[in-house]
Symmetry: C2
Subunit: 313 residues, 2 copies
């Protein structure tokens, strides 16, 4: 094939999503390989290198036409691309750009944290198009974030930039977060957090509700019931919205972005999420930050892959 190409790689804890892109950033082909985390994840980078070599061969690409490889990882990445303890992969400190580039004859490699990659992807091709400064909020199993200021990702001094899931939002919480603290944002606003606050409300409420406090209770069933007008589900959604809206008002008073883009599994519930969050965000936000746009992400699971490849395009 003629022209210039790049690879975007979204390295997750169970699957590696890979994409071949042209130089305009259009995806030409997507595929997946499993993430082998056994033995401290020693096979992960060789597996990726092999998969890319196979694709280069299959497509008859000239390695000199490959502009680079962008890869995101589910853990803290320091400036320079060194991964600093990526628990989900079994990794300690890994110089991903150096190692992967070495396995691929020196092709340029850039590494980025997965939440930051999603932010870059959404800014480039998704809900954040047109904004130079934005915060990406990912509401999944946990709550992740990616902060872009004037086009640049804020990695943070310890790779903890936009670790918004662990903002302390409730001094009275008694249950412990996965991080060891109590009262973190993700204890209330992640998919699991929403179920947790839902269960508490269901235990106490005397109101009738279509929600059932069993194994099937999920963020989706709660948002679906709220859309149908269920009072208890609506109360849970309000609690979620108030906590997240206030947290976002704290963030914008410090970083003052143009937009907040909300993605992750929870955001699939749609406008109900941005509506309730905006309703609590605006009265809590500093007046100059009230015009900050709050909108839904658009790229779904591909955001990370797009953001990763953007690093080398």
């Amino acid at each position: 094939m003629a022209g210039k190409y790049a690879f975007g790689i979204d390295l997750g804890g169970t699957t590696v999503k890979e994409g071949l892109f042209n130089e305009k950033g259009e995806v030409l082909e997507k595929w997946e390989i499993p993430t082998r985390t056994e033995e401290n994840g020693k096979n992960i980078l060789p597996d990726i290198a092999k998969s890319l070599k196979d694709k280069i061969k299959e497509k008859k690409l000239d390695p000199s036409d490959i502009l680079g490889i962008g890869i995101d990882v589910p853990g803290p990445v320091l400036d320079g691309g060194i991964v600093n303890n990526c628990v989900n992969l079994g990794w300690g400190v890994v110089n991903v750009p150096q190692e992967l580039s070495g396995m691929l004859g020196g092709i340029k490699v850039e590494a980025v944290n997965d939440a930051n990659a999603a932010a870059l992807g959404e800014q480039w091709k998704g809900g954040g198009r047109g904004f130079k400064s934005m915060l990406m909020v990912t509401l999944g199993t946990g709550v992740g974030g990616g902060l872009i200021i004037n086009g640049k990702i804020v990695n943070g001094s310890h790779g903890a930039g936009a670790e918004i899931g662990h903002m302390p939002v409730n001094p009275h919480e008694e249950e412990t977060c996965g991080c060891g603290k109590k009262g973190c944002l993700e204890q209330y606003c992640s998919a699991t957090g929403i179920v947790r606050i839902g269960r508490k409300r269901l235990e106490k409420t005397k109101k009738s509700t279509i929600l059932v406090n069993n194994e099937e209770l999920s963020a989706k069933t709660i948002f679906d019931a709220a859309k149908e007008g269920d009072e208890v589900a609506k109360e849970i959604v309000e609690e979620f919205g108030e906590i997240l809206g206030r947290a976002l008002a704290n963030i914008t008073a410090v970083t003052d972005p143009e937009a907040i883009v909300i993605g992750g599994g929870v955001s699939k519930a749609g406008d109900i999420v941005t509506d309730v969050v905006s309703r609590y965000y605006k009265p809590n936000a500093f007046h100059a930050c009230r015009t900050c746009v709050i909108k839904l992400a658009e790229l779904g699971n591909d955001a990370g892959m797009y953001g990763a490849v953007k690093m080398v395009l």
Copy 2:
């Protein structure tokens, strides 16, 4: 005089502090002029221009040897130096670099928000030396902030970068902040905020205390009493420390700086301030951010002038 020079100007609501610096950033002379805010502050920039022209004449400086003029203002400054509604000066939108440069034969002028200037000054010559990313917290009549990430000030999309005084920290507050919201950080942690929470505690307490709830109650008398072991004063200091420590843990989970430098009038109380804030910061901070250094500012009232001149050196 031979060599290259620059002026640093700290434009406050009542006084303009001006300094002549050599190219190494050493201050050669400091002086002040009054800030004339009448008639929408129309005299402010001409007064500054005249003062600088007089100094240039007095010192027999060659205008071509003047590297530039850095000026800080007590209001939001957009990227490019345009001041966006500076209430304390009576100003609407003012292009300070263009106007002041025009009055001074084209000498380069850079404008910066005063809290951001203090941050730059402390990073350059004060408590923030050696840190590429830092947060400056100014505890004065209000609570101000300046955020530097990788050496660059975060002005924010609406000039509201690091407006940390208006982070919403208490959803249960009944009194209104100067900004119109309720429960802002500065209602508890500014000099006036500390007195406010002090008065509330003095009204309710049954403990004996050397503090008297009269006109003379101030942040200083409270910290002084706490240092002498007064139980009620210590409780007030703990309340202050808990609120500020938790707010800082929220900020570092988003911006992950290397250091937090605390300045402003309240910081003159000394180590008692950083000690109590650190004690509440650490358990609330995300684990990767717990090593963030919390220390006192060193430049006092000169921080803004140093930061301003740094813009042109």
